[in-house]
């Protein structure tokens, strides 16, 4: 009897394998949410704050348009970052050394410097020099190059995780190098990198908020503006958090699902 009660609150694990009964999961989630609600409601109840949702509600259109812009910018830079990341990952394996080192330097520079600085330099220096005035395009490209560096490392690790013995097998059955990548390497790389890739995409969406500094009127900038118009800080920023969660939670759930779906020994 006490064993059953124990099972409600604790997961039983053996190695990496865990057993959580459905009932225990429900109890766990409910009590965690309850605890959070308790802390938050206490915090907000102590807050001496004059809520003014009406003022913010008048600007609801700005939230919607900002959210859609963020969605569009994220989707576009997500697609571009995949292409850039793949190219950079393959450049790491290029026999042509200048290309290989270009890829390495790109990854190190992007990963080692703040996105804020990259956005400013790209917009005010690089884009300006090349005569690209569209801040939406520059913003999308900057984000794509930023995420591309991380994605290239994810893809590179994925390619390297396909063992030497499999490449040997592929050669032994007479596949060409192209066929080896197409039928042996990439299908496995795809499955292995989907979870980290989904995580990277979630960060990309949140990072797009930094584009507000070059006046791209995405979700964050619009919320800042609403705040400036209404002086209702909480009412402007709480919807902002929920709006980002609406984008990142599905991705995070998808990532969890893919992780279990493609977990097989290799």
């Amino acid at each position: 009897m006490s064993r059953r009660r124990f099972q409600i609150l604790f997961a039983r694990s053996r190695g990496n394998h865990e057993e959580i009964p459905r009932f225990g999961r429900a109890v766990g989630v409910t009590s965690a949410l309850f605890l959070l609600a308790l802390v938050l409601s206490f915090a907000f109840s102590r807050l001496n704050y004059g809520w003014n949702w009406e003022a913010v509600y008048q600007y609801r259109r700005m939230f919607v348009s900002g959210w859609l812009i963020t969605l569009a910018i994220s989707a576009a830079s997500l697609a571009a970052s995949l292409v850039i990341g793949l190219a950079a990952a393959l450049s790491h394996r290029s026999p042509f050394l200048p290309l290989r080192y270009l890829g390495k330097i790109y990854v190190e520079f992007i990963r080692g410097t703040p996105l804020l600085v990259q956005i400013l330099v790209f917009f005010y220096v690089v884009a300006d020099a090349f005569g690209i005035g569209n801040r939406y395009l520059v913003g999308t490209l900057t984000l794509a190059f930023f995420a591309g560096a991380y994605i290239s490392e994810i893809i590179r690790a994925g390619i390297e995780s396909v063992g030497e013995s499999q490449l040997d097998s592929a050669r032994a059955i007479g596949l060409t190098p192209y066929q080896t990548y197409r039928y042996v390497v990439f299908p496995q790389v795809m499955r292995r990198i989907l979870p980290p890739l989904a995580g990277q995409f979630a960060s990309l969406i949140k990072d797009s908020s930094l584009l507000s500094i070059i006046a791209v009127s995405e979700f964050t900038l619009n919320a800042q503006e609403v705040n400036a118009f209404t002086y209702s800080t909480m009412e402007s920023y709480l919807p902002l958090a929920l709006g980002y969660l609406a984008l990142t939670l599905p991705i995070s759930m998808l990532s969890k699902y893919l992780e279990t779906r493609y977990r097989y020994a290799s």
Binding site: S165, I173, G174, R191, Y264
Partner: protein, 243 residues
């Protein structure tokens, strides 16, 4: 098959794996390569499989020199069935897909025909119930048997086995060796690198004993195992047959 090797040398980062292999053989249908680890057996097999190019020396199989350029090497490999020690199968493909991949991609089969033919073969080797399983769902012995079916499916000129049972427990070793013996009984030509001396003696009609990258002794398998001449082979057989 007719095999001619002339002063074959292969080095890896300064380590000499094959140190001048010279050999002329005709009429042998199954050849066993035996010898201590690091003696060069696997490297020699990989040269014959077209997976490693010799640094020096020439190799001729049935009177045709081994190709050296990429394109012809790929064509050459397509004519040979090679089975490694382990991890032969691609983990993201089912047993059936593992067998059909080379048929479709390297041998021009239509997908339908490849599926039908591969199922037929899996059936013949009592593996059809595993056709839809991925390698991780199969035992090591079953994986090796599927790998052998994949190698046989392409109707190879000959089969190469690189220690096919070294990663298996005794029971699975037996099921894989039974299958190889069955292929041997079908008069298929094969070369096998193995530590299973009893098995080598049984299936091979020619034996080659390699040590330190050289052929120390070779000859008809029966004579090689019964009356070894060189002190190295005597010592080797004494050691491996002790238990």
């Amino acid at each position: 098959m007719r095999l001619r090797l002339d002063g074959v040398v292969k080095r890896f980062d300064g380590v000499t794996a094959l140190d001048g292999i010279t050999l002329s053989l005709s009429g042998a249908r199954s050849i066993a390569l035996i010898g201590p680890s690091g003696g060069g057996k696997s490297t020699l097999l990989r040269v014959l499989a077209g997976l490693e190019l010799p640094d020096m020396g020439g190799v001729e199989i049935d009177g045709v020199p081994l190709p050296t350029d990429g394109e012809s090497l790929i064509r050459y490999r397509r004519g040979i069935g090679t089975v490694f020690q382990s991890y032969n199968l691609f983990p993201h493909l089912t047993a059936l897909e593992n067998v059909t991949l080379p048929l479709v991609q390297a041998h021009g089969y239509a997908k339908e025909a490849a599926n039908r033919y591969a199922m037929e073969l899996l059936d013949r080797f009592q593996l059809s119930s595993h056709a839809g399983k991925r390698p991780y769902e199969l035992s090591g012995g079953q994986q090796q048997r599927v790998a052998i079916v994949r190698a046989v499916a392409i109707k190879p000129r000959f089969l190469l086995f690189d220690e096919p049972t070294s990663a298996l427990d005794p029971e699975m070793t037996a099921e894989v060796l039974d299958l190889i013996a069955e292929l041997r009984a079908q008069e298929r030509e094969l070369i096998i690198v193995t530590h299973e001396m009893g098995f080598a003696k049984r299936v091979a009609d020619h034996g080659i004993f390699l040590g330190s990258g050289r052929i120390v002794e070779e000859g008809p398998a029966a004579a090689l195992f019964e009356t070894p001449q060189s002190p190295e082979l005597k010592a080797f057989l004494g050691k491996v047959l002790k238990y």
